[in-house]
């Protein structure tokens, strides 16, 4: 890698920030060489572990007899609640997710006991021999059942600003309604998997497909009854996660560790698809009741929302998720008076959890429905109503506060709407669709343009911190580690670009290594879109420390002012002299300069009052806008997304290739949620859609026929984020609200927009057909 200074003369490093670079593992992805947790070669005596689960949604356990399981040939270990040396819990904080059920089960799919054998098939077969005496009890499955019986995890949580009831009562116009929004299975292609490898004494190494290695470390240590330092959790990559591996990786990891501790052998827990879908939580389904008051121009004067969400049998992250829904009930609109009350429904279903957007999407759908209904009521285009209610533009001179009293200082939604309305030919296409629908008896088309404003930072302030570890080796190559995990989102390449930029070296000098609690401790989950914001800054901090030491050394050794040291592409300018980066590093190493540093970052400006639900929970907002055009068949409910235009704000994108992928993938995943992915439980609380044969996610043929995505080219974060970029993981998912709104528009066209389509989500063909029939029946 050694090169002379002359060879290194160039204006720009290769692979710095803002460059479109491929995912760090892409070559290994296409050759099949990328090692996922389930691909790790295990010792010959490793055991496969099956977790036996409850067939009942709600039952008391009178007795569990596992003797027949233990006696089965080939069974190496059988573990239940009595076999846990530490704490029988794998919940993120509330202590309400037992690793193995004890006196009761609260959902069908809840873990009962574990069986270890040489093969999973043997373990699974033996598990069926357990004799368990259940006393089944009535199950609360739906939101409606939970609301009727006031089955809540906590008292209702309310966000209130102004006097919305009075504002609505005195408004010129009022409307009221309800929308039901289904949940969503994550369907990461790689299911939950964890491997535990026992070490010396109480040491345990865990390979886990988790977004939150630190939490897995804590839960494993607590289950084993050992200090956190005894447990190391490593994650090289996940095969998708989307929030589903923020907490639900805890169970497989703790069970693997318990088996490994008891047997002294490596143990793997890998859910197959059906088990995964039965055991793990999903996106919360919501029922939203709304009342709004507005004036003749469509300006909203006051709104109230009641959010009821299906949380499942335990807290998991539901409190934070419902708070994010509250904080996105305004979306991009200034609402002078608002109340949102959130009911966290406790149900006998899997504990619902984080999923891309984390409650934000559901909150936003509520206000978008209100906007559409206002437009229908006033017989104007919804875009007019949207524009009338936007937060003031950042350059307008006047900022407005959200209902939780955070000033919106960076609003650019008007720019995005202006650009997109023109580039998508929204107005002429709207006119053309009206003309088409007038002539077309069976097929109807619809179009909608919707905004996204999404707050970036964890609502829980303490989570907004990150660490990194950077080594510059004596040959000038760089080892990078940080607390974030790679789930396909391209975090590793982005942070590597940050480090390359900081040192002004080519990207190929930076080696990205697996996330491990042994290198960077006390990390937060890679979640809330915050991965590159937090870990990029922490890595930059570490790089800057090493650079400062290098500069101080070089200034002293070469007798120049510290200010005369500059980092140029692959070389360092020392006064008038250029030294190749490698040579400078070798020289510094010989001179006994420390070339390794930890970095740390804590997001500034954040504060939140849990009591009043006010403060600044977000460092900044991301914005985006989408236009979707759809067609429906009014005889069958079949539908297609014909064309989608998107302009999305990534600030100054760290890596436009990665960010475009996030936007495209987020939109399609959101469109799946809102148009086709349907979870069905029977009345006894058993999930009936637990495999791809019954749960339909978008496939290549469902992709919009015409998809035009653009990153906002004037994007720049007004806050001092990593190279002025913006987070991109979650926000684009909500662009898909445009697809649902367009389907509503198509349904409403059946009666010329005079009847509310009341289209729930997902807008499956059945729901579209029923909505069409309802609109026809109620047409004046």
């Amino acid at each position: 890698m050694h090169a002379t200074v002359d060879q290194l003369q160039k204006a720009r490093i290769d692979g710095g920030v803002h460059e479109p670079r491929a995912h760090d593992s892409s070559i290994r992805h296409v050759t099949g060489e990328a090692v996922y947790t389930g691909d790790i070669k295990l010792p010959a005596d490793a055991v496969a572990v099956f977790i036996a689960t409850s067939p009942h949604a709600h039952a008391a356990i009178r007795s569990i007899d596992l003797e027949a399981v233990r006696r089965q040939p080939g069974i190496i270990a059988v573990l239940g609640a009595g076999d846990i040396p530490g704490i029988n819990d794998c919940s993120p904080f509330a202590g309400d997710d037992p690793i193995f059920a004890e006196a009761k089960v609260e959902y069908a799919g809840q873990s009962l006991f574990a069986v270890a054998a040489a093969t999973l098939a043997e373990a699974r077969a033996a598990a069926t021999l357990a004799v368990i005496d259940f006393a089944p009890q009535p199950a609360i499955v739906t939101i409606a059942q939970a609301m009727a019986t006031q089955s809540y995890l906590s008292p209702p949580r309310t966000l209130i600003h102004g006097d919305p009831e009075a504002a609505i009562a005195t408004a010129a116009h009022r409307l009221t309604g309800r929308i039901e929004i289904g949940g969503q299975e994550h369907f990461y292609l790689e299911g939950q998997v964890a491997i535990a490898m026992p070490g010396e004494g109480d040491e345990m190494l865990i390979h886990s497909s988790t977004q939150h290695p630190t939490e897995v470390q804590h839960k494993v240590a607590d289950a084993l009854g050992v200090p956190f330092h005894a447990v190391t959790v490593e994650v090289r990559r996940m095969g998708g996660a989307f929030g589903g591996k923020e907490t639900h990786g805890n169970l497989p990891a703790t069970v693997a560790a318990l088996v490994a501790r008891q047997t002294g052998r490596a143990a793997i827990v890998r859910y197959d698809r059906d088990d995964d879908m039965h055991i793990t939580g999903k996106r919360h389904d919501f029922r939203i009741d709304y009342t709004a008051g507005f004036d003749d121009t469509g300006r909203i004067l006051g709104v109230t929302f009641d959010h009821a969400s299906r949380c499942g049998m335990s807290f998991d992250l539901s409190a934070a998720i419902s708070d994010r829904a509250l904080c996105h009930a305004d979306n991009a609109y200034f609402i002078p008076a608002m109340r949102v009350t959130s009911y966290l429904c406790k149900t006998n279903t899997a504990s619902n959890t984080a999923f891309r957007g984390f409650g934000g999407p559901q909150g936003m759908i509520g206000i978008e429905r209100v906007i559409e209904e206002i437009a229908r009521h006033l017989r104007v285009d919804p875009v007019t109503v949207r524009r009338a209610n936007f937060y003031p533009h950042k350059d307008s001179g006047g900022h407005r506060a959200t209902p939780y009293r955070m000033l919106v200082e960076d609003c650019i939604i008007q720019d995005l709407f202006d650009e997109l309305e023109a580039s998508s030919d929204y107005a002429p296409r709207r006119a053309e669709i009206i003309a088409f629908n007038a002539k077309s008896a069976v097929l109807k088309r619809g179009i909608a343009m919707t905004p996204v404003k999404f707050g970036i930072s964890f609502n829980n302030i303490m989570l907004n911190q990150a660490g990194a570890l950077v080594h510059v080796y004596a040959d000038g190559s760089i080892g990078l580690n940080h607390g974030g995990t790679e789930m396909g989102q391209g975090l590793f390449i982005k942070v590597a670009q940050v480090v390359a930029e900081a040192f002004q070296v080519d990207l190929d000098r930076v080696k990205i290594t697996a996330t491990t609690t042994g290198k960077v401790p006390n990390t937060s989950a890679t979640a809330a879109s915050s991965g590159s914001d937090l870990n990029g800054m922490a890595a930059l901090d570490a790089a800057n420390k090493i650079k400062a030491r290098l500069a101080a050394y070089l200034a002293n050794a070469h007798n120049v002012a510290a200010a005369a040291i500059t980092f140029e592409p692959n070389r360092i300018l020392v006064g008038g002299r250029e030294i190749a980066f490698d040579d400078a590093i070798a020289e510094a190493h010989r001179a006994r300069v420390s070339l390794s540093a930890t970095g740390f970052y804590a997001t500034p400006k954040l504060h939140w009052d849990e009591g009043t639900r006010t403060g600044r929970p977000f460092y900044y907002f991301c914005f985006g806008a989408a236009v979707s055009e759809v067609a429906i068949d009014t005889l069958t409910g079949e539908n297609r997304i014909l064309r989608v235009d998107i302009v999305h704000d990534c600030g100054r994108s760290l890596n436009p290739a990665i960010d475009l992928g996030q936007i495209e993938g987020g939109f399609v995943q959101g469109a799946g949620w809102l148009t086709m992915e349907e979870l069905v439980w029977d009345d006894r609380g058993r999930l009936k859609t637990h495999a791809p044969a019954t749960y339909k996610i978008p496939c290549a043929s469902d992709r919009p026929v015409d998809l035009r995505i653009k990153i906002h080219d004037r994007g720049r974060n007004i806050e001092d984020t990593i190279y002025r970029s913006k987070a991109v993981g979650e926000p684009p998912l909500m662009l898909a609200i445009s697809a649902h709104a367009a389907l509503s528009d198509a349904v409403a066209s059946v009666a010329g927009g005079r009847v509310a389509p009341d289209l729930d989500a997902p807008a499956t063909p059945e729901r579209i057909l029923m909505a069409v029939e309802r609109v026809k029946a109620n047409a004046p």
């Binding site: 892409s26 050759t31 989102q489 992928g661 399609v668 496939c699």
Partner: protein, 158 residues
Amino acid sequence: MAKHHVSFTINGDPTEILCETHATLLDVLRDELELTGTKEGCSTGDCGACSVTVDGRLVCSCLMLGVEANGKAIGTVEGLAKGDKLHVLQEKFLEHHALQCGICTPGFLVASKALLEKNPDPTETEVRYWLAGNLCRCTGYDKIVRAVMDAATVMRGA
């Protein structure tokens, strides 16, 4: 349990194994031959992560028994590149950023190769419907379809 002697070629290499009666071809590839590029996504033939070719025909290896591979030519993602030289499809997937987490990528590549061998000049619609048996949860498919179309153009010219 009974084991069966099974011989086949894997990416052109003659291979013999002793195979459990109930082992799927996917189990054989991953556990016996340590070819872990082929992934298990659903075990029910719906997701395409385990796609391989059997005598040139696209198959979900989770739905086929290992013993059924006897006498067949099996192709997996590991056979796409020739040494350090990537297959055009692999190059195009890289160029178009047609992957994110990457776990569905081997299946898409194997399925795409099977398509282009059958139909070297597919329409975009044909590509999209052919690949409808391969699920990807990250990308949204747009870049994958573009990569396959581009690869087809290059391969026709080659």
